[in-house]
Amino acid sequence: MSLGPHAAFILAAYAAAIVVVAGLIAWVVADFRAQRRALGDLEAHGVTRRSAAIKEPA
């Protein structure tokens, strides 16, 4: 596959796409882990959601 005389621009465009997509995936995954960790810490300290508390038997 020859990219011709403007190969640098084509490669820069695809590199940017890889960086942007990888960045979005990293953001979503890191945020998910952070929220799960925070929820886990709160539940470990005995804090529950009101709806979860209502479902508990008296």
Binding site: F9, G23, R36, R49
Partner: protein, 244 residues
């Protein structure tokens, strides 16, 4: 499960957990097909040469940048008119993804423009209106972070989003309304596409791949936002319990 059931955050989380592996697999498969088509099957353009390969990134990015603002606009109506419980979650989750695709559209457009037009940038109607949309995305993201309460932030952002939606037809019709360097519509137009099938098929393949990626990322980001709001509620409960 009826569609209306997904308005319940817990049911939505359950749906996302089941759907996510399928979405990821579909996205990877679509990218495998799309990139194979774009990089190895699509011929060089008779005028652009190999730089036509940039179009397989640039056009889907542009479509998704506009689609995302359209999605945020519908979410804004959901927040203000129908008071849908997940409307502002959808809007907040979409904004960074839309901003990323808008940036990619602008950057890949510059990479195409330098060899083809001899310049990275011109202040023509299409490029300028897309730059305005990018700045509006950044403003929306900043507004989400500025207002403490998610519900209050959601209403403020919804109003700004609806005002910003006026940019969508401006972007779309800019190449018709003004004398622009950017080429006129060649895909979605009355009278059908003017692009040869050998380029159109790879373009649509990469567009499908990027759209699946957007859907996957958006669902994941919505899931994260719901979890974030749960953490916030639980922290407030904890603070109240400790204070009381």
């Amino acid at each position: 499960m009826a569609l209306i059931d997904l308005a319940n955050p817990t049911r939505f989380l359950s749906f996302v957990e089941r759907a996510m592996p399928w979405l990821i697999a579909a996205t990877l498969f679509a990218f495998a097909i799309g990139l194979e088509q774009a990089l190895f099957v699509a011929p060089d353009d008779y005028q652009q040469g190999a730089t036509v390969k940039i179009m397989f990134l640039h056009v889907p990015s542009a479509w998704l940048a506009m689609f995302c603002w359209g999605l945020m606009t519908v979410a804004a109506l959901g927040t203000l008119v129908w008071r849908h419980p997940l409307a502002d979650v959808a809007a907040k989750a979409a904004a960074p993804i839309g901003a990323a695709f808008t940036f990619l559209c602008l950057f890949t457009g510059s990479m195409w423009g330098r060899p083809m037009w001899g310049t990275y940038w011109v202040w023509d109607a299409r490029l300028t209106s897309v730059l305005v949309m990018f700045i509006m995305y950044l403003g929306i993201i900043a507004l989400w972070r500025t207002v403490e309460d998610p519900s209050d932030a959601g209403r403020a952002v919804a109003v700004v989003t609806l005002v910003g939606a006026v940019d969508l037809p401006i972007i779309k019709f800019s190449v018709d309304w003004w004398n622009t360097l950017h080429q006129p519509a060649s895909i979605v137009r009355l009278g059908g596409s003017t692009i040869d099938k050998s380029i159109l098929v790879p373009l649509l393949a990469t567009a499908i791949a990027f759209t699946l990626l957007f859907v996957t990322l958006h669902f994941a980001a919505m899931r994260n936002e719901i979890l974030r709001r749960r953490v916030r509620s639980m922290l407030m409960l904890q603070a109240r319990a400790q204070g009381g």
